[in-house]
């Protein structure tokens, strides 16, 4: 792929994206418009994350790409291959070894460390979008910190369902100011957003927005004093590694109601199994 620049994008485009990233870091949670490029994969496949990754990558980086928490999902494989071809960077499946992690829908279970960058793929960056479809209007609402509509929505959830009926892309407030969509991660992951030593960047290609949570920034999941936020997961332990504290996928194993629960984070699960942990069905994947 020598006909393309390092990490595909030309240097001028990368500089434009880096400027947007710097602005995003300076104003945590604020959605910075950027001139998103057409990428050689479709919008919705992670073009925002890919552009942010391309702008941050250096030849010395070690890249990890996950989708649904797993390194081996098809789109994670495809994006990792894209950067192997266009940037020739080293890749890894180990969270602890990665300098840069691009993710879709999960935050790794292994706590991130200083110097790491976590890059989220974002479909709809606007947390107010489904309350107010107009961008012109939601930008005004952010400018005025006019978040009453969001609190009314959360209240109506409780009135109707007894609890806040949002289980993923659960809205947060960053550094006491901007309400932010953390991308469609399960709300189980929300506590990991706050006070992380790693830099968290969010790229929305189709919607042309980049935003950021700088290291050690407070991120609060919106709630009420009498209905506090709860990071929930399936009430089971992983059938393979036995962890009862990690986020679980439910896998249908037969057509008679059989199912098992396994870690969504494949690196976390494999690392635990290598260390000798075993769940009730550890032999199933011998």
């Amino acid at each position: 792929m020598s006909e393309y620049n390092f990490a595909y994008l030309d240097e001028g485009t990368k500089r434009m994206i880096r400027r947007a990233i710097l602005k995003a870091v300076a104003v945590p949670g604020y959605q910075v418009p950027f001139a998103s490029r057409e990428m050689p994969m479709p919008y919705g496949w992670g073009t925002g994350g890919v552009q942010v990754t391309a702008a941050c990558l250096t030849p010395a980086d070690r890249l990890k790409v996950i989708d649904q928490g797993a390194d081996d999902t098809t789109n994670a494989v495809s994006i990792r291959k894209f950067f192997q071809r266009t940037a020739g960077v080293a890749t890894t499946e180990r969270t602890a070894e990665a300098t840069l992690i691009q993710t879709r829908h999960r935050i790794p279970e292994t706590p991130l460390t200083e110097g790491q960058i976590l890059i989220y793929q974002v479909p709809i960056p606007e947390p107010l979008r489904f309350l107010e479809p107009r961008e012109t209007e939601t930008r005004r609402m952010h400018a005025l910190a006019d978040y009453g509509l969001m609190h009314v929505k959360l209240y109506e959830d409780i009135a109707r369902n007894g609890e806040i009926a949002t289980s993923y892309a659960y809205p947060v407030q960053v550094a006491g100011r901007h309400v932010m969509d953390p991308s469609p991660i399960p709300k189980f992951d929300n506590p990991k957003l706050s006070d992380s030593p790693a830099l968290q960047l969010f790229g929305a290609g189709r919607e042309q927005r980049i935003y950021a949570v700088p290291p050690h920034t407070q991120v609060i999941s919106l709630d009420f004093d009498d209905h506090p936020f709860v990071a929930s997961k399936a009430p089971h332990a992983c059938a393979l590694c036995g962890d009862d504290g990690s986020y679980l996928d439910e896998v249908i194993t037969d057509d008679a109601g059989g199912r098992m629960f396994v870690c969504s984070d494949t690196d976390h699960c494999a690392t635990r199994r290598a260390a000798g942990h075993a769940g009730t069905q550890a032999e199933a994947i011998a």
């Binding site: 393309y4 418009p33 950027f34 001139a35 490029r37 057409e38 990428m39 050689p40 479709p42 919008y43 919705g44 496949w45 073009t47 989708d67 649904q68 928490g69 797993a70 081996d72 999902t73 098809t74 789109n75 994670a76 494989v77 495809s78 291959k81 829908h105 999960r106 479909p123 107009r134 961008e135 012109t136 369902n161 007894g162 609890e163 009926a165 289980s167 993923y168 892309a169 469609p184 991660i185 399960p186 709300k187 189709r206 042309q208 929930s232 997961k233 399936a234 059938a239 986020y247 679980l248 996928d249 439910e250 896998v251 194993t253 098992m260 396994v262 969504s264 069905q281 199933a284 994947i285």
Partner: protein, 363 residues
């Protein structure tokens, strides 16, 4: 027994190989060549060039071949290629008045200087399948006419009389740096130049539906096609080192100018208003639709009422006109979403248990 999902990479490679084989179809049938597509699927090529925003018929034909005839996929291939190309600068505005037209019709006058020229149109064909085309035959020959004379614009006749709103004056700032939504994030409200760019590369079907809705009463456009012309125009760029303008080539364009219901008041005499469509290649449906949508979006500057129609809503139109954006977001829902679904599943189960417990307690 649980089998962990592995081998994503091999599955992807095999899927691509299957795709390549399926694209070729039955190998006993001769393979399509790119020149065949360029010459004989010319209107498909035109659509790919227009919505791909790249005037290159050979590349568009190649994209159509690679995309198995899926034009939106072909447009996507062209867009992804286009985005890697350097920008040398912008041309002078093309002079469509000096177009070497192969077709030019006006619906507002029986005859106009330069004449009504039908050109290669489907308009008066009877839509009967021509089974003779299933066999290969000699290339059809059309009678040749003398070269067409100059074709002054129909709107200029109206302009001279003052019965149509004047063209907005050139904005030197926009001429020097035309807005480009492929280089700058779209900001709303968008000026007309940017709106026209968005419409020119917008999805033909979306614009057709919007324009049709405005004709049926969702919004108010009552257009006459003042003029529709198709043909080649020169593209000229200024070469700063030489201090002069040079023609770098010719492109085929379709231009539609509509004459619309008038505005006026006690102080300002009534005048017709304009809608404008300009599309790369031969694409009449798109150019006409574009001119209706352009006109509908001008409601505010013309002091018209916002009836709440979709076609009047700039944000609605501009944010949803691009088929590459739209198809990407639409189709991405087939990617794995099981982490989010799992969280929803648990929520719904929990809410159901709570509801059933409450019901039991009530009994």
């Amino acid at each position: 027994m649980y089998v962990a999902v592995k081998g994503g990479e091999r599955a992807i490679d095999n899927a691509h190989a299957f795709l390549a084989e399926a694209r070729r179809g039955d190998p006993s049938v001769p393979e399509l060549t790119v020149p065949q597509i360029r010459e004989q699927m010319a209107l498909a090529v035109a659509r790919v060039m227009a919505e791909g925003s790249l005037y290159d018929a050979d590349l568009a034909a190649l994209a159509i071949k690679q995309a198995r005839g899926d034009l939106i996929e072909a447009i996507f291939l062209i867009r992804a290629y286009r985005t890697t190309l350097p920008r040398f600068g912008s041309s002078h505005p093309v002079d469509t008045g000096a177009m070497a037209a192969i077709r030019r019709v006006s619906a507002t006058f029986k005859d106009v200087p330069g004449g009504q020229v039908l050109g290669p149109t489907f308009d008066y064909t009877h839509r009967l399948l021509d089974f003779a085309l299933t066999a290969e035959g000699a290339a059809p020959q059309a009678p040749k006419s003398d070269a067409l004379g100059p074709m002054p614009r129909v709107s200029e006749h109206l302009d001279r009389e003052g019965v149509i709103e004047p063209e907005p004056a050139h904005d030197p700032a926009i001429d020097a740096h035309p807005p480009d939504l492929t280089r700058e994030p779209m900001e709303l409200p968008a000026a007309r130049a940017l709106r026209l760019q968005a419409l020119a590369r917008g999805d033909e079907g979306f614009l057709l539906g919007l324009a049709y809705s405005s004709q049926r009463g969702y919004g108010r456009t009552h257009p006459f096609v003042g003029e529709l012309r198709i043909g080649e125009v020169w593209v000229e760029v200024e070469i700063p080192e030489l201090g002069l303008s040079v023609a770098i080539g010719a492109v085929t364009l379709t231009e539609c100018e509509t004459v619309n219901q008038f505005t006026g008041s006690k102080t300002q005499p009534a005048q017709f208003t304009r809608g404008y469509g300009l599309v790369m290649g031969q694409s009449e449906r798109k150019a006409i639709a574009m001119s209706l949508v352009d006109r509908a979006l001008r409601w505010a500057e013309l002091g018209e009422e916002d009836t709440g129609a979709p076609v009047q809503d700039q944000e609605f139109v501009l944010m949803h006109a691009d088929n590459i954006l739209a198809t990407g977001f639409l189709e991405h829902i087939k990617l794995p979403h099981y982490v989010d679904f799992q969280s929803e599943l648990e929520l719904v189960r929990r809410l159901r248990v709570a509801a059933m417990d409450a019901e039991e307690a009530a009994e």
